[in-house]
């Protein structure tokens, strides 16, 4: 066998071991960045480098993270979902309003989930059957969801059922004074399920195929339509779950909640190594991206003097760096192939 056949950087037998470290880069770089920031932060502020901070990262960013898992699938397939923040907010509002009306979580939560899933499904239909641009369709989805939220109530609506306050307090104990809260557990669970779907199910692999080359995927006989509908429906569902998690901390529904969250979601997905052009990415990467975002915020809070707006600037700068890096990699890969 001629060596020229094999991709560069491989062992003679072409077997695993020394193989494909290049493939791992999308995942390694965010992990490295996270460790870097955590490390530097730990050096600067002794209290930062602690399990408590880590656990809080999971708890505080759970709603963002859960929605980001859904967004990961959407972006890998080559699309985008701008309705995320709106769905989170309106799902929380639905729960709050139903709670006010006396219906407990047994009605409220399924209603919220149904809302998210239904909206996602409808958007998916328009995107696929009418071949419309996901940007515009999910944009209107965002308007629709926000509008419904404001319609339900213009003001903040408190949630009184004990289920929610209990859920916000319990958790799995992890050493002195530390608990892994319900939101954090849900976040981790969603990530695990997402990772399983991505790696171990045909649906997950089809998502990658569609993102890689939709035309080829179609010609190869993959169920493109069904998969795309599922992707948007699941994204809506996960955003709704994010909304449920939100109610655990805020114990209320508020029309303006999660404003601009879609941007943070997209940023975490991209920083986590998923390409906005589709075909490459992972849920685990997104997890790291979410943690990085959370860490930056924590860092700034610890700093004390810097204003919170620096968060946006850092996130933007990081996004910029990652995008340039992605571009540089794709250019060098193309050159290598020639």
């Amino acid at each position: 066998m001629s060596r020229a056949e094999r991709a560069p950087g491989k062992t003679a037998s072409g077997r695993p071991g020394g193989r494909g470290w290049r493939k791992r880069i999308p995942l390694l770089s965010p992990a490295l960045v996270f460790i870097l920031i955590f490390g530097i932060g730990g050096l600067l502020y002794r209290n930062l480098f602690s399990l408590r901070v880590l656990a809080n990262l999971f708890t505080d960013n759970a709603f963002l993270g859960i929605a980001a898992v859904g967004m990961t699938f959407v972006i890998i397939s080559g699309g985008i979902d701008l309705s995320v923040g709106a769905v989170i907010s309106t799902s929380a509002m639905i729960i709050a309003v139903l709670d006010q009306a006396g219906a407990g979580p047994l009605l409220g939560i399924p209603a919220a989930l149904a809302f998210g899933a239904l909206l996602g499904f409808l958007m998916g239909c328009v995107i696929h059957f009418f071949r419309a641009h996901p940007f515009i369709v999910t944009l209107s989805g965002m308007f629709l969801a926000r509008g419904l939220g404001y319609l339900l109530s213009w003001q903040s609506v408190p949630i009184e059922h004990e289920f929610f306050s209990v859920a916000s307090q319990i958790g799995i104990p992890m050493g002195e004074n530390l608990k892994l809260s319900v939101p954090a557990l849900m976040f981790i669970a969603v990530v695990l399920v997402g990772a399983f779907l991505q790696r171990r199910t045909r649906y997950g692999r089809n998502v990658y195929a569609i993102g890689g080359n939709e035309q080829s995927a179609f010609l190869m006989g993959l169920p493109v339509g069904r998969t795309k509908l599922l992707i948007y429906t699941v994204s809506g569902l996960l955003s709704a779950i994010g909304g449920v998690v939100l109610t655990f901390y805020t114990l209320s529904g508020y029309g303006n909640a999660a404003f601009g969250l879609e941007l943070d979601t997209i940023a975490s997905v991209v920083i986590g190594g998923t390409l906005l052009s589709g075909g490459v990415g992972s849920v685990v990467g997104t997890l790291i991206g979410v943690l990085i975002l959370g860490l930056i915020q924590t860092f700034i809070a610890f700093q004390g003097t810097l204003n919170m707006y620096w968060t946006k600037i850092f996130i933007g700068a990081m996004l910029f760096a990652f995008i340039l890096l992605q571009k540089a990699f794709s250019l060098s890969a193309a050159a290598r192939r020639k």
Binding site: E5, R6, K10, G14, R199, R205, N213, G221, A333
Partner: protein, 509 residues
């Protein structure tokens, strides 16, 4: 004992608005056979395959598969029937692994999960049959096109393809890769597989195929056992005259003293690696230089070096005896060079713009940002060329996407004429155009030269090159192999020059 027939197409006809793509084409395929389907661009090969695989619906004709008439509605159905196509673009997914591409959509599962270990192991087994030892976990995109094609073939076979269609599989392969591919094809043939091999490479067809079917301009020319036809005969069938009429139409020959006025452009061993070997030519004012050769011989590559679309990595280009480096088309335009590209839809026309806008485009670019052409001026210019070239359009505001091919081509030529070039390169200007328009364009080319323009005329149709040119460059395998002048310019001579190269058995297929 003759092998049983597995596929029979009879009288296939297919037309699109304004274009008759296939007319009464027959085609049969037997098990254990490699059947080559040949024809120049626009001959109808890909249309035929798309009709067979359900991408298009035929207007007339019959398809019989394994002795039974069938209606194929979609590529998926074709695949299920056992008719699989491996396209030139290798329709696989480059961001997933080799093993995965083999099994995408049908991954073996165990306990509700994808069984990766099984996939990787089976992939290795399958590829071993093709003599490939790859890391099947690596992304497909990291491998060469030759390997990707082989994987695509392996996938098709795994899907139980009984008829394997290979669409231009060797276009991007080097000699060793072609040999490997042919080795596998012969193995498959010996196992009884039926293969349709679409290609434009004459030598390869003689190396590997059992029978050859030739299409030309949508028409069925014939099917010939490879052993019973010579290369020259084949080439003449590919490029031969389409109508008796055409040869009778009088197109004045270029003046004998054409090009007396001196060279406009000269090249000294100008070349580009992997694109075209260094060539030294000259194009004189008032002369038509024809460029003949089969598909893939490098004609468009030559043109792209002269127009700055690609930059040369060796040799020099001299315009008016001054050396120039053309990095982009704008520079070429400033020197007075224009190019009407080969693919008028993808590279030439801006379909959503009007005839007027398309025509004045190059001129406007040449004028620059400060000298804008007002709409009245634009209209005048457009109408002048519409009249001059007899472009059939209801008005200059008509969108170019609505014109017929011939008129679209005229619009592109008009665009360049409007920019008053000194050297015009025309790449396949008469492809896919009806006879009448063809003659008009040929007459135009000769007239332009008489008016002092230098012209490079690239075409697959030998007789029109012979009719219009004062000098003919013969290209073969990305190299200018011969230059013919004066009395030597005759169809037969050109044809022979091309065929001879094939006979000489030049090392690269």
């Amino acid at each position: 004992m003759p092998n049983p027939e597995i596929l029979r197409l009879a009288g296939i006809t297919k037309s699109f608005p304004g274009v008759l793509a296939l007319s009464g084409v027959d085609f049969t395929l037997q098990q254990g056979e490699i059947h080559a389907l040949m024809g120049e661009n626009g001959a109808g090969k890909s249309t035929l395959i798309k009709v067979l695989t359900g991408v298009y619906k035929r207007d007339a004709g019959r398809i019989e598969y394994r002795g039974v008439p069938v209606e194929v509605h979609s590529p998926l159905q074709a695949q299920d029937l056992g008719i699989s196509t491996v396209y030139q673009e290798v329709n696989l997914v480059p961001n997933l692994s080799v093993a995965e591409n083999l099994f995408l959509g049908r991954q073996p599962m165990s306990a509700g999960q994808i069984a990766w270990k099984a996939i990787n192991e089976r992939a290795l087994e399958i590829l071993a049959r093709f003599d490939l030892d790859l890391d099947v976990r690596e992304n497909l995109g990291g491998y060469t096109l030759a390997i990707q094609q082989m994987v695509a073939i392996a996938r098709a076979l795994e899907l139980n393809a009984r008829v394997l269609i290979l669409d231009e599989p060797t276009s991007s392969l080097n000699v060793e890769e072609v040999d490997k591919l042919f080795l596998q094809m012969r193995r498959l043939k010996s196992e009884g597989q039926a293969i349709i091999f679409i290609t434009h490479f004459v030598d390869q067809v003689f190396q590997i195929s059992d029978r050859i079917t030739v299409l030309r301009n949508g028409g069925y020319i014939g099917t010939y056992p490879t052993a019973e036809i010579t290369k020259v005969e084949l080439i003449s069938k590919l490029l031969g005259r389409e109508y008796e009429k055409l040869s009778e139409l009088a197109v004045a020959r270029p003046r004998e003293d054409a090009g007396r006025e001196g060279a406009f452009l000269r090249t000294e061993a100008l070349g580009r690696k992997a694109s075209i070997k260094p060539f030294s030519i000259q194009v004189r004012r008032g002369e038509v230089v024809g460029c003949a050769g089969l598909l893939g011989s490098g004609r468009s590559e030559l043109a792209s070096l002269l127009f700055g679309i690609q930059s040369a990595d060796s040799g020099r280009l001299l315009v008016d005896e001054r050396a120039v480096r053309l990095g982009n088309p704008r520079k070429a335009m400033r020197l007075g060079i224009g190019l009407s590209p080969e693919d008028r839809k993808a590279q030439g026309l801006i379909q959503d713009l009007s005839v007027r806008e398309n025509i004045i485009l190059a001129l406007q670019v040449r004028q620059g940002w400060l000298r804008n052409l007002g709409s009245r001026q634009q209209k005048e210019i457009a109408e002048r060329y519409i009249r001059l070239l007899d472009i059939k359009t209801p008005s200059s505001e008509q969108l170019t996407r609505n014109l017929s091919g011939g008129n679209q081509q005229k619009v592109i030529i008009a665009r360049w004429l409007a920019s008053a070039p000194r050297f015009l390169i025309l790449d396949e200007p008469t492809r896919g155009i009806d006879v009448g328009a063809k003659t008009e364009i040929q007459k135009l080319i000769v007239q332009l030269a008489r008016d002092g323009l230098a012209v490079l005329f690239i075409s697959s149709e030998i007789e029109e090159i012979a009719r219009c040119s004062g000098t003919v460059l013969v290209l073969h395998n990305r190299e200018v192999v011969e230059t013919l002048r004066g009395q030597d310019i005759e169809d037969r001579v050109i044809m022979n020059a091309i065929a001879e190269r094939h006979l000489e058995g030049s090392p690269d297929a």
